[in-house]
């Protein structure tokens, strides 16, 4: 019985407040001794009533009278019941772990802060930060806080569990029962509130309707609460269901979804566009399509588009050929098994496919062949040239009434007459010599061009050009007559006059032309020692011929590094000729060449090979001469517009230069005759070689048959019709389309193309390009 009676402890001894520590020891002492009902007269001591675990599972009742002090009932234990008979100080039920605490009055700040279990019943109102940081441990029932009145500010901050019931009794309807900014950071639990509960953190919590189950729970427990605080009479006034609201924490998912925030799409539609007008900020200024587009686009939205540039560029070989032969076209024909046509085509450009293309030309086309970029052997045009030796004559197109004279039957003159004849004009070829061919026939050694080849091509020329007049006297009078008799005159007189050195004893020397002409007829004996002044390619020809005719010591001297190159130089070196430079000739004597340092190069024959100059004495005053050569404009027209000049008479060059100039002059004259401007079509720009993909070809392959050359030609700028672009296009946007007989075209479907440029990258011939899309 003794244990059930209340033992009274005072927080004061001898009129002095005893320390919290001592009061705590006293309470524990009695609990250990089995007492379970203790009345404490508090004098503000800290933490009265908590931590009564020595009582085990027994019910313990602590009644606090006087001033309860802070944190009454903190760390409260299951089975502990604390009744505070007046108002309570801060943190009632702090970290409550199971105690039931009743306060018969108001409680100040921090009620139930950090509590996890237990129940706190407040018979009045509470201060700030009640029910903050409360949590619910799933092993136990949730903590509960019952408040008859209302709450101070920041109620329920970071509340993570538990149930709070705020009855709002006698609260002014203007004031909120939950105080200022309640429930910030709430993540769990629920709050029943009676009255105005506005202002809670809607980010963290939401109002939900009070279910029947909630209502039953509330009314049942409300009755119990009112009993504990002795206010049963309030039950009817507090039991009006519509007065109550339930506020619950939002779930983590609800917070991330944040459905309450207006979407930007809504804002744009309902606020932005509504204020600014349809189309938004610039809807009045530009009718641009709104709406975003993907990164990879088609049609007009592509930044770049592919273009199939068939025939828009000139192949590098053709561009390099002074005669202008479309070399790649011919290899294309070879590829299509039209070898005959390919060979025959040559005669439309040159009368000497075999002699010049096949043998004498240094082949600028091959030097510029794109294959050189990858150190691959250039396509061998010489094969194609040589095949042209026996091709039948081309057909001429028409007959015109115009008469044209060509003076000089060298390669340039023959080329001009050939082209004019092809175009149907009546052409007369004049020459002072007894044979046609100029230097090709007269000077170039037999070692460089087989006699049969040359003769057969010269024969073909003679067959084709009906009016060839040899052994003509050419002087001013004759020239004026020709000019008068013919509609146009082309001067192709060449450079036949050798340049000689102005040194004493020059009479002892022979010119290179003279030497080569005689040697070709085996009509000269040069002796054992030959000195050649001027170490160019003609000098090399002299050296080779001299060796053939028995010379043993052959020396080529020059004032500068010898200009000789290619086959001529190799041949000269092959016969043991030596090159010396710089050597300056002071005098030529019977015994040899005296140099400026008085060294004597002994020789049986001295040959001067320092170039030729034109012999233009026959021209009249109407033809302007500039530094020994005929002055011409860009059309090869002289100062007399009816007189054209080409070849070495205009300036030194290769045979192919002369042939090309002959063809050019013929084309221009033809255009003038036809009444057109001398300007033809603008020549196509040269293809950029980097557009060619040489990786398709075997670099070790040295094409040495016509067939191999045809298949290994990169076909620069001319579509091979291989279909690689169709195969490579990732969007299947390219299609091959037939256009008439044998014609074809590769077309892009803009609705499929994404402008990646793969067609360009893969094209072996450089036909495809990728250009900025002009469409916007």
């Amino acid at each position: 019985m003794k244990n059930h009676a209340f033992i009274k402890l005072s927080g004061q001894k001898d009129n002095k407040r005893i320390p919290s520590r001592v009061l705590e020891e006293m309470i524990h002492h009695h609990i250990k001794n089995g007492r379970r009902n203790i009345e404490v007269e508090g004098f503000g001591q800290h933490g009265i009533g908590g931590r009564l675990w020595d009582a085990g599972a027994d019910e313990t009742h602590i009644r606090i009278v006087g001033q309860s002090g802070q944190r009454a009932g903190s760390f409260g234990h299951f089975g502990t019941r604390i009744e505070i008979m007046g108002p309570a100080s801060d943190d009632v039920g702090w970290l409550n772990a199971g105690a039931e605490i009743i306060v018969h009055g108001n409680a100040s700040n921090g009620v139930m802060n950090g509590a996890a279990q237990g129940k706190v019943f407040i018979g009045g109102s509470i201060g700030a930060r009640g029910m903050t940081m409360t949590k619910r441990n799933p092993r136990f029932e949730p903590p509960e806080l019952w408040v008859l009145g209302s709450c101070g500010d920041y109620f329920g901050e970071f509340m993570a569990g538990g149930i709070a019931v705020i009855c709002g009794h006698t609260t002014d309807p203007k004031d909120t029962v939950l105080g200022y900014r309640p429930l910030v950071g709430m993540v769990g639990g629920k709050v029943f509130a009676r009255g105005n509960s506005d202002g809670f953190s809607e980010k963290d919590a939401k109002r939900v309707s009070v279910s029947d189950e909630d209502w039953n729970w509330l009314t049942t427990h409300l009755n119990a609460f009112l009993s504990k605080i002795h206010k049963n009479d309030l039950l009817p006034s507090l039991s009006i269901r519509s007065d109550w609201q339930l506020i619950k924490a939002r779930s983590a998912r609800e917070k991330t979804d944040s459905p309450e925030k207006s979407s930007m799409a809504w804002f744009r539609d309902q606020v932005w566009d509504r204020e600014l007008g349809r189309g938004g900020l610039i809807g009045d200024l530009e009718e641009i399509e709104r709406g975003s587009i993907p990164i990879i686009t088609r049609g007009d939205l592509r930044r770049y588009i592919p273009v199939w540039e068939q025939g828009r560029y000139m192949a590098p070989c053709q561009a390099a050929c002074p005669t202008g032969i479309p070399v790649q076209e011919r290899w294309s024909m070879v590829r299509q098994d039209n070898v005959d046509e390919a060979v025959a085509m040559g005669l439309h450009y040159t009368p000497f496919p075999a002699t010049v293309c096949g043998y004498l030309c240094p082949s600028p086309c091959m030097a510029s062949c794109t294959r050189n970029l990858k150190y691959m052997s250039p396509i061998n045009v010489k094969l194609l040239g040589k095949a042209g030796e026996n091709v039948k004559l081309p057909k001429t197109v028409k007959k015109s009434q115009k008469k044209i004279a060509v003076i000089g039957a060298g390669p340039g003159g023959i080329s001009a007459a050939w082209q004019l004849t092809l175009k149907g004009h009546t052409t007369t070829l004049f020459d002072t010599g007894s044979a046609i061919g100029g230097k090709i026939a007269a000077v170039i050694p037999g070692s460089r061009i087989p006699k049969d080849t040359l003769e057969s091509e010269l024969k073909r020329v003679k067959e084709f050009i009906p009016d060839i007049r040899l052994n003509q006297v050419m002087d001013k009078k004759e020239f004026s007559k020709i000019k008068y008799d013919y509609d146009f005159t082309i001067v192709a007189a060449g450079a036949k006059k050798p340049r000689m050195l102005p040194v004493p004893g020059i009479d002892h020397a022979v010119s290179a032309n003279e030497f080569l002409e005689l040697s070709k007829k085996d009509n000269i004996k040069p002796g054992k020692r030959v000195v050649i002044i001027g170490a160019g390619n003609v000098g090399c020809d002299v050296a080779t011929e001299a060796h053939r005719l028995g010379a043993k010591t052959i020396t080529l001297i020059d004032i500068q590094k010898p200009a000789a190159f290619g086959k001529e130089k190799e041949d000269a070196e092959g016969v043991g000729a030596t090159f010396r430079w710089p050597c300056f000739t002071k005098e030529i004597t019977k015994t040899g060449v005296v140099l400026s340092d008085d060294e004597i190069l002994k020789s049986d024959t001295v040959v001067v090979s320092i170039g030729d100059v034109p012999d233009l004495g026959f021209l009249d005053e109407s033809i302007k001469i500039d530094k020994g050569f005929i002055f011409v404009d860009a059309y090869n027209r002289t100062s007399d517009p009816r007189v054209f000049a080409i070849g070495d008479a205009v300036g030194p060059g290769l045979i192919t230069d002369a042939i090309g100039a002959g063809r050019k002059a013929a084309i221009i004259i033809d255009r003038i005759i036809e009444g057109k401007s001398p300007d033809g079509d603008t020549p196509l720009p040269k293809l950029d070689k980097t557009r060619i993909s040489l990786e398709y070809y075997n670099p070790k392959n040295r094409a040495d048959t016509l067939k191999e050359c045809g298949s290994d030609c990169a076909s620069c700028g001319k579509c091979r019709d291989c279909g690689i672009c169709v195969a490579v296009c990732p969007e299947a946007a390219i299609e091959r389309v037939e256009t008439g007989k044998d014609g074809f075209e590769y077309k892009v479907n803009p609705d499929l193309c994404i402008g990646c440029g793969f067609c360009k990258g893969a094209c072996p011939c450089g036909i495809w390009d990728l250009i900025p899309n002009p469409a916007v």
């Binding site: 920041y154 900014r181 910030v184 950071g185 925030k261 207006s262 930007m264 799409a265 804002f267 744009r268 606020v271 204020e275 600014l276 007008g277 938004g280 900020l281 610039i282 809807g283 200024l285 530009e286 641009i288 709406g291 975003s292 587009i293 990164i295 990879i296 686009t297 939205l301 592509r302 930044r303 770049y304 590098p316 240094p362 030097a367 510029s368 062949c369 794109t370 050189n372 970029l373 150190y375 070689k689 993909s693 990786e695 398709y696 075997n698 070790k700 490579v728 296009c729 990732p730 969007e731 994404i754 402008g755 990646c756 440029g757 793969f758 360009k760 990258g761 990728l770 899309n773 916007v776």
Partner: protein, 544 residues
């Protein structure tokens, strides 16, 4: 006569380029998306050759020697096609087979980029990740010494004042005498700085404005945005959204006749007028919007015919001294709106800024001073200006603020700091540091482009082609094929994200300092840095 490729001074190898394409042929599907998207055509499909040699030490078995070709992506090495590192190829690649990688060696492109005698120009940034702001730490944590505040639950007034605040005595006097009181705006301390309609694409510009309007109207954050020098779309001028806008006037005066025409029809006054005298990225240099970028839209907004080049000279043409510039320009601009709108100049950070500040201090009409530091961004500038001209923002702001404290006017003229705020992603820390050094607010540009539109620029010279109109994200392009990649709504949403998260971070910084009722402007006792010289220079604590 050889036509083999010859070596030129500017023949570069892949090794010389600042950005190299790392490409994995095994993973590539040859879909063409990377080459289609590359803004500078730095990559292309190429045919490659492969040699397959099969040999045997037993000669009777024979050897074979075959060539095969295959396709792959190749990087071009021409100067004009040098990869800019934007990584759009990586973005579109379905198989993660391609990516640009920064060359760790010397960038030799630098020596060759001046082809045809034209020095490098670029957009973007200074390309230096150095940042004194990043090194500043907030070392004064109140904890138990002052009431420690909680950024999560305390309410903060993250607001600043834009406008001239009179001294209390003067204010009372004028109130009593019914005198003129300068206009003052209470605004959010993070401002979107001036980026013109023209420098930015229409979608980007609209997105920024829409985001700002949302912040104001849906979230009650008084964020302000400056138009930059390129006028302002007429609809915006006549809308209520104008109050969120700071109109900029600069030496080109583009679009100002349209603004003048709109004044009688304005529903709201603009937030303020910024007079631009200088830009941190290219101090002392002007700008030129090339004729080909002046399309119909830009022309309409700037009030010019399409297809003409638009120069913004380095200086205003009719102003010859600080006194005159300040007096004349500020007075004119104030007058235009009946002295109801704050007017302030923006200058590039400079060792001469104190002269400007002192001048403003004597002029009641001057509402503040914006200073743009060397790390500011730009749409186009000469590289030499960006890389070597300019003044760091931190010390300039500090000098100006300390000067104000010396003359006792630190609460009267707000200073706004810009230029590289958040350049390495630390926006709120940089902003807070500048505020505690003395700025009343900060302006951002590049950060907004990066965060709100995915600008791929970095401080490593990545992309930087804003000046060429080929922005791969559509931020600085006037080509609809590019700018339509950008949805204004998405930009607006990201602007909102940026400001809301900034707001949280700023609170996380200032709450532990115990400040909640006002911004800690000039609260330099909270700052420390691990560099003694910098600490001395900035008059903050040296903390190691």
């Amino acid at each position: 006569m050889s036509s083999n490729r010859s070596l030129e001074p500017s023949s570069l190898s892949l090794n010389d380029l600042p950005w190299q394409i790392r490409y994995n042929n095994d993973r590539c599907t040859l879909c063409g998306q990377c080459t289609a998207v590359c803004p500078v055509k730095a990559i292309e499909l190429k045919v490659f050759q492969k040699r397959i040699i099969k040999t045997s030490v037993q000669p009777e078995k024979g050897h074979t020697n075959d060539y095969d070709s295959f396709y792959g992506i190749r990087q071009k090495t021409r100067v004009e096609n040098a990869c800019i590192g934007c990584a759009m190829c990586t973005l579109v690649c379905p198989n993660d087979a391609i990516a640009p990688v920064k060359n760790p060696g010397l960038d030799r492109l630098k020596f060759h980029i001046n082809q045809n005698g034209i020095p490098r120009r670029r957009g973007g940034r200074r390309n230096s990740s150095d940042s004194i702001l990043d090194r500043i730490k907030f070392i004064r944590i109140s904890m138990l010494t002052d009431p420690a505040l909680d950024a999560g639950r305390h309410e903060f007034e993250m607001r600043t004042l834009l406008g001239r605040v009179l001294s209390p005595r003067e204010n009372m006097k004028r109130l009593k005498e019914k005198g003129w009181i300068p206009p003052v705006r209470e605004i959010y301390p993070l401002i979107i700085g001036g980026m013109s309609f023209g420098a930015l694409s229409p979608t980007m510009w609209e997105g920024l404005q829409m985001g700002v309007a949302y912040l104001n109207e849906e979230l009650s954050m008084p964020v302000r945005i400056c138009t930059g020098e390129g006028g302002c779309p007429p609809r915006l001028l006549r809308s209520r959204f104008l109050k969120y806008v700071i109109l900029q006037i600069a030496s080109g005066y583009f679009g100002w006749d349209e603004i003048i025409h709109a004044i009688p029809h304005m529903k709201e006054d603009p937030c303020a007028i910024e007079i631009k005298y200088g830009q941190g990225a290219k101090p002392g240099d002007g700008g030129l919007l090339m004729w080909h970028k002046v399309n119909k839209l830009i022309a309409a907004i700037r009030g010019v015919p399409p297809g003409v080049s638009l120069p913004s000279p380095p200086t205003h043409q009719t102003q010859y001294s600080i006194e005159e510039s300040v007096a004349k320009m500020i007075l004119s601009m104030s007058m235009a709106w009946g002295f109801r709108v704050p007017v302030y100049p923006k200058i590039s950070a400079s060792s001469t800024s104190l002269a400007v500040l002192n001048n403003l201090a004597r002029n009641d009409y001057a509402s503040g001073l914006a200073i743009d530091g060397e790390d500011g961004g730009t749409g186009a500038a000469y590289a030499v200006s960006m890389d070597h001209m300019g003044h760091p923002i931190a010390s300039c702001i500090r000098d100006n603020y300390l000067n104000l404290t010396k003359i006792g006017k630190q609460n009267e003229i707000p200073i706004f700091a810009g230029g590289g705020v958040g350049k390495n992603g630390n926006l709120s820390a940089n902003a807070a540091a500048l505020i505690m050094l003395g700025a009343s607010g900060v302006q951002i540009g590049k950060y907004a482009m990066q965060a709100a539109a995915g600008c791929v620029g970095t401080e490593e010279d990545r992309c930087n082609v804003c000046n060429l109109g080929i922005c791969p994200k559509g931020i600085t392009s006037q080509d609809p094929r590019l700018y339509r990649r950008l949805d204004p709504e998405d930009v607006a949403q990201r602007i909102v994200d940026l400001f809301v998260s900034f707001d949280t971070e700023l609170k996380k910084i200032v709450a532990p300092l115990g400040r909640s009722t006002s911004l800690p402007i000039g609260m330099s006792d909270a700052l420390g840095i691990d560099d003694y010289a910098a600490a001395e220079r900035l008059s903050i604590k040296y903390g190691v």
